[in-house]
C-alpha cells in the first residue's frame, strides 16, 4: 500500500510530462495549425512567444510546471480567456453528471449483484446476468441517442439536451451509468459468491445470525473491497465516458469542452482538459486504494 502511494507523485509527474509533450506531438507547427495557413508571420511569431514555444524544451517544461502550481494553464484561443477559468465553469457540470451516474450505478449494481449471488442459479440470477451482459454490450454512442428517441421524442417525458433541472440529468446519467452498473453487477455477484462459501459465514449462520444480518454484517463487508477498487477505476471511466455522453446530450461539461476544443484546434484548452481529467482520475484511484485499505486490513501490509 505504502509503495503504491509513493508511486503516485511519480505517476502524476509522468502524466504531466505526457500532457506537456502533447503540444509537441502535433504534426508540423502547432501555431500554424491553430492560426491557419494564411496567418500573418507577425501573428505566428507573437503566438509562439505567447505559448513559450520559442524557448528550449526543458525551460518550457519547467514553465509548464510552474504555471500549474499557480493555476496558470495558458490562454484558450477560442474562448479568449484563461484555460483555468474556462475549465472551472465546466468541471462542476461534469462532476455533477459523473456523481449522478456513479450513484445510479451503485444503487443498481450492488443490490442486483448481491441478489443474484444469494439466488445463485435461479431464474432471477439468470435474468440479472442477462441484464448485465446487455449493459456491457450496449455502447453509450447508441444508448444515448436511443434514450432520446424513446423518452424525449416518442414519449416526450424528458428534455432532449442541456443542463438545468433534475429532469435534464436523468437521461445523460442513465447513459453514463449503464456500463458501470453492468460491471458492478458481475463483480459484486462473483465477489459475494466467493465470500458465501467462506467458513466465517457458516459460523455466523451457526451462531444464529439472521439471514439479513449475515448478509449485511458478515458477507458484504468481505465482498466489498474488490468492488471498491473497481469503482475507483470505473469512476475514471465515467469521466472519459462523459466525452460521449456530454456530446450526445449537449451537457456543458469538460468532455464536450474537449471535443469543442479539438474541433477549434485550441490546443492549450485541449491540454488543460486532458490534464484536469487525468489528475482527477489519478486522485480517484488513490482514494479508492485508501478506502480499500480501510475496509480490508489485509491490504494494508505491503504487497
Amino acid at each position: 500500500m505504502r509503495r503504491r502511494l509513493l508511486l503516485v507523485p511519480a505517476t502524476l509527474l509522468g502524466a504531466l510530462a505526457l500532457v506537456f509533450a502533447f503540444l509537441h506531438l502535433v504534426p508540423g507547427d502547432p501555431v500554424e495549425v491553430m492560426l491557419g495557413e494564411f496567418a500573418m508571420p507577425a501573428d505566428v511569431a507573437s503566438m509562439r512567444r505567447g505559448l513559450g514555444l520559442d524557448r528550449p524544451l526543458p525551460v518550457q517544461f519547467v514553465r509548464f510546471l510552474a504555471g500549474l502550481v499557480t493555476g496558470d494553464l495558458g490562454d484558450s484561443i477560442a474562448f479568449r480567456a484563461p484555460v483555468t477559468r474556462v475549465i472551472a465553469e465546466r468541471y462542476l457540470a461534469t462532476l455533477e453528471l459523473a456523481a449522478a451516474a456513479l450513484l445510479l450505478a451503485l444503487l443498481a449494481g450492488i443490490p442486483l449483484g448481491v441478489l443474484a449471488a444469494l439466488r445463485h442459479g435461479s431464474a432471477a440470477d439468470a435474468l440479472i446476468r442477462g441484464l448485465s451482459l446487455l449493459g456491457v454490450c450496449v455502447p453509450s454512442v447508441w444508448l444515448g441517442p436511443l434514450l432520446i428517441l424513446v423518452f424525449s421524442i416518442q414519449l416526450a417525458w424528458l428534455p432532449v439536451s442541456g443542463r438545468g433541472s433534475l429532469a435534464h440529468l436523468v437521461l445523460p446519467a442513465t447513459t453514463l451509468a449503464l456500463g458501470m452498473a453492468a460491471i458492478l453487477i458481475r463483480l459484486t455477484r462473483a465477489s459475494m459468491l466467493a465470500v458465501l462459501r467462506d467458513a466465517h459465514l457458516r459460523t455466523a449462520v451457526a451462531k444464529g445470525a439472521s439471514a439479513c444480518r449475515t448478509v449485511t454484517h458478515h458477507a458484504l463487508p468481505s465482498a466489498l473491497p474488490p468492488v471498491v477498487t473497481v469503482v475507483g477505476l470505473q469512476a475514471g471511466a465515467l469521466l472519459a465516458g462523459a466525452i460521449v455522453t456530454e456530446t450526445v446530450f449537449s451537457w456543458p461539461g469538460i468532455g464536450r469542452l474537449l471535443v469543442q476544443a479539438i474541433a477549434a484546434r485550441d490546443y492549450p484548452l485541449v491540454q488543460g482538459c486532458v490534464l484536469v481529467v487525468a489528475v482527477t482520475y489519478i486522485l480517484m484511484n488513490v482514494t479508492a486504494d485508501l478506502l480499500v485499505a480501510w475496509l480490508d486490513p489485509r491490504t494494508r501490509e505491503d504487497a
Binding site: 511519480a10 505517476t11 447508441w142 421524442i153 466525452i243 485541449v270 487525468a278 484511484n285
Partner: protein, 271 residues
Amino acid sequence: MPRKRRGTMAAIAGAGGLLGLMLLAAAVPWLPLDSPYVTDLDARLATPSAAAVLGHDALGRDVLARMAYGARISLGVGVCTVVASLTLGIALGALAGYLGGWTDEIVARVIDVLLAFPGILLAVALAAVLGPTLPNVVLALSALGWTGYARLTRTQVMSLRQRDFVVAARALGVGPVRIVTRHLLPLAAPLLLVQATFGLSGAILAEATLSFLGLGVPPPLPSWGAMLDEGRVFMLVAPHLVVAPGLALAVTVLALQLLGDGLRDLLDVPS
C-alpha cells in the same frame, strides 16, 4: 450448469457470431449491394422499404450497403489494433519480465503513466493531434492498447522465469529468445487469448467512439460510429439511421463478450 459446459456454449455462440460477421464482412464486395457512396438526393432520409431494406441516409446513400462496408471498417480497425497492440505488448512485456532490472523499471513506469489516464481520453487526444485517417485511428488505439498485454506478459514471464524447466533449458544452452517464445509464451497464451478477445471488443467500441466524435474514420467512409453521429441529427424523421448501426455494434460486442467469457471458463483463466 457446470462452468466448463456453460463456457463451451457461450464460446460456441460467440465464435459462431464472430465468424459469421467476419465472413459477411469479407464477402461484402461480392454481395448484391448498392454502392455505399453514391448519393441519391431524391431518396434522402427514405425510411426502410422493399427496395432499400434499411432505407437511405441524409445524402440518399443506401444504409444497408453502408452498414455492410462499415462492418469491414469496424472489424478491420479492431483486428489491426489488437494485432499491433498484442505484438508490441508481448514484446515489451517479455523483455521487461525476462531481463528485469532497469528495462523492467522503465517499461513498468511507462505502463503506469499510460494507465493513469482514463480509457478513451488519450486516444481522443492522440487522434485529435494525428488527424482523422484510418491508419491514425489504428495508431492511436494501439499506442495505448498494448499496456494491458504487456502487463500480463510481464507478470507471467516473471513468475515463470525461475521455474525448474526454464532453469533446465537455460542450463542446456537455450537462448533467451527461444526460452521466451517456446517455453514461456505458450503458457501465457490462454490468458492473452482471453484478453485479446475483450480487447477486440474494446477496440471496436473505441473506433466507434472516435468516429462518433468526428475523430475517427474520415467521411465519406462508412463506420458504424460515424453513421450513428450522422444519423443522430435526423433522429426525429429517420430513426432507422440510429437504430441500425447501434444494433450492429451491440451484436458484435455481444458475440465477443460471449466468446471471451466462454474461453475464460473453458481455459480456466481467472477473471
